[in-house]
Amino acid sequence: MDENVHVIERYERAWIVFGLGMIAVFIVLIGYLMIANRGTIPISAGRVDATQVRSAGDFANPRVEQVGNEYVVYVQAFAFGYLPTEIRVKAGRKVTFNITSPDAQHGFQIERTNINPQVIPGEVVQVSHVFRTPGEYRIICNEYCGIGHANMVSKIIVEP
């Protein structure tokens, strides 16, 4: 075995090349998906004063707004729940969520979708999604926010 060391090194080089090739393929796929799934990638939609979120501006009035054929939703994620408490939209239309928090950081994961942004006080995070299948989707807080974290579950109702 000891005398085969150069053979081993040749195999190792092949393995490294294979590994790099695999990584190159992954990067291309990620780049493609990044363009194809653009709306699900969380982006910034401005900043707010976290201490004013409850009393002034869009988030003091959390709501679902219909704009043409699309929806714009303003969500307040607070300890320990979401406002509006129930979101209703129609299937097949684009829904854009703007979310912020008046207190700690929270999560906003919509099960069975790619929507999973971090909600950070002072920042407004924006994601969008088209719900194809009608039904109920849970919204789950997946960022530890205090003693009531596990109770922080809400829902979106997608009507046909």
Partner: protein, 561 residues
């Protein structure tokens, strides 16, 4: 009593660094033991079984326990193990003694920092988890103690670099010996990596918790945290790698395949460990998607040294197996010394690292991350990495290192073997369940679901997987009891064998040596590569951090536990 004191003096007389190493190691294992106690309770929680009401007078809630679990296991234990191994191994390899005064300074800084941080943790005044994201605001003593603890590692950086400089002065023109090379690149990587955390804690969190600042910018704090938060996992991992490269082949009965490739691996970690932190912030607003994509590519690059490691370690083990008489395609595996608890721990740890690494590449893949971010998939992933490989490497190493340091022979070898098998099986079952629960049912991490009827109703479809968590919790509890019995029974016995004290560190021989290798010559220019690493960090972080520092949006702190 007098006789015992005498023999204790003798054990360390020629090598006081042994005593320092033993203290670091044992303090780390005490932290691991206390932190691990909460592990099974958390497993039961993810099985829907809530035992926290019974802890009430001592521990107030799930999140206090979870904070202790994360801080003690992932921060305290891992750093102390690094400080023990990555100072002691080069000292032995070079035959030099580290500056003992400073070595003890680092120990006392770590111990005092730990105690200061422990007080608010135990008083439920810092239940902010080990990531302590603002605006959750802990007691000032938590940040201060943590800072002192982390700064202790800066003394270790000095200890390692000073020994290296002393050796180079005495051996001009020679290539740095392998373990020392690993130690030097490791500590330089940590020097660069720790800056984010140091700035976050020293400039913002300590003044904020003392009331000198009204608020901090949570996005900037997250960014500074993850600047350190990713490389810190390589800071945990690399002592295990150093041991796997330089002791495991020998312990298994073979030789390391290639010295220059081992250097390349550590060099790649020096270069790529730090400029990748946005892969922890894929879900964050305020960082443009193209920056996240750049960090995705760099994160993929940092998988390369582990791919190389997979080959080198596997080939070295095959070398060992064939030396031991193993034949055929798989015969060498059976010929490995599975009855050696150290070798067993590494073999099982690396086995767990295969799915662990695969999950890591998934997490790094920007879009895929949206499916599993902040679900229990993530703890499933990192319990294969740090909870299995790193921890098992440490436990396995303790089986020879504690006898080596103290002269006290290992007791209950059968229990040592059983502890490793059970730890591996328990972790495998638990991480399997967590991956599926996170991926299929969006079960969130860091959540006291067993204490919440709303949560138990929401995740009831994953009930079948939850059962596995309970099974794993029981297995892991037994594994921990066995391991800590072996550890303390070995360290606290009065029997000493002179042959153990005199034994050398089982450094391996290598097949392909550094001398005459152009790759080894290239990697030897450590300061040049450190400059490149620094440049990469400035390029990958500079513009975003500049923007964040000049546009801060501070928010006040909250205590919600």
């Amino acid at each position: 009593m007098a006789v015992r004191t005498l023999s204790q003096m003798d054990a360390y007389a020629g090598a006081p660094e042994k005593k320092y190493t033993l203290y670091m190691l044992m303090l780390g294992f005490i932290a691991l033991m206390v932190g691990t106690l909460f592990g099974p309770l958390q497993s039961f929680n993810y099985g829907g079984l809530d035992l926290y009401p019974f802890l009430k007078p001592v521990f107030q809630n799930y999140y206090q326990g979870l904070t202790l679990h994360g801080v003690l296991n992932a921060i305290i234990f891992t750093q102390l193990f690094g400080q023990a191994i990555m100072v002691y191994l080069p000292a032995r390899e070079l035959g030099l003694r580290p500056n003992m005064t400073l070595a003890w300074v680092s120990f006392w800084m770590a111990l005092i920092g730990l105690l200061i941080a422990a007080l608010p943790l135990l008083a439920n005044a810092a239940s902010v988890l080990y990531t302590f994201y603002p605006p959750l605001k802990a007691h000032w003593a938590f940040y201060l103690g943590a800072a002192l603890f982390v700064l202790s590692s800066y003394v270790s950086i000095y200890l390692a670099l000073e020994m290296w400089a002393r050796w180079r002065k005495a051996h001009p023109g020679q290539i740095t010996p392998l373990v020392t090379y690993m130690s030097v690149t490791y500590w330089l990587m940590w020097l660069l990596a720790s800056l984010g955390l140091v700035v976050e804690v020293a400039l913002f969190l300590i003044p904020w918790s003392l009331g000198l600042l009204d608020g901090v910018d949570p996005l900037l704090m997250r960014t500074l945290f993850w600047y350190t938060g990713h490389p810190i996992v390589y800071f945990w991992l690399l002592p295990a790698y150093a041991l796997a490269y330089t002791t495991l082949p020998r312990l298994a009965g073979g030789k390391l395949i290639s010295d220059p490739l081992a250097r390349l691996v550590f060099l790649l970690f020096l270069l790529f460990s730090v400029p990748v932190g946005f892969h922890h912030q894929f879900a964050d607003p305020g960082i443009a998607p193209y920056w996240k994509f750049i960090h995705t590519i760099l994160t993929m690059m940092v998988a390369v040294p582990s791919l190389i490691t997979a080959f080198t370690i596997a080939a070295s083990l095959e070398n060992a197996g064939r030396n031991n008489g193993g034949k055929g395609l798989l015969g060498w595996i059976a010929a490995l010394p599975w009855n050696n608890p150290t070798v067993l721990a590494f073999l099982l740890g690396f086995l767990a690292f295969i799915p662990g690494g695969a999950g890591g590449i998934v997490n790094a893949s920007f879009n895929l991350n949206q499916n599993i971010h902040n679900t229990v998939w993530i703890p499933g992933h990192f319990h294969l990495q740090v909870g299995t490989l790193v921890t098992m490497a440490a436990m396995g190493t303790a089986f020879w290192l504690v006898p080596h340091l103290t002269g006290k022979p290992l007791v209950a070898r059968g229990m040592a073997l059983a502890s490793q098998w059970l730890w591996f099986i328990g972790m495998f079952i638990m991480t399997f369940a967590l991956h599926w629960m996170g991926f299929l049912y969006a079960v969130p991490r860091r959540s006291h679901i067993a204490g919440s009827p709303i949560a138990m109703e929401a995740y009831r479809e994953s009930a079948a997987w939850m059962v596995l968590n309970i099974v794993a919790g029981v297995i892991l509890l037994i594994a921990a009891i066995l391991f800590f019995y072996v550890l303390y029974a070995t360290a606290l016995q009065s029997r000493r064998e002179p042959s153990q004290v005199m034994a050398e560190v089982p450094f391996t021989e290598v097949l392909s040596k550094a001398e005459g290798s152009s790759l080894a010559q290239l990697t030897e220019r450590v300061w040049f590569w450190f400059g490149i690493a620094l440049l990469l960090v400035v390029l990958a972080y500079g513009p975003v951090l500049f923007q964040m520092f000049t546009h801060m949006n501070p928010v006040p702190g909250v205590r919600l536990w």
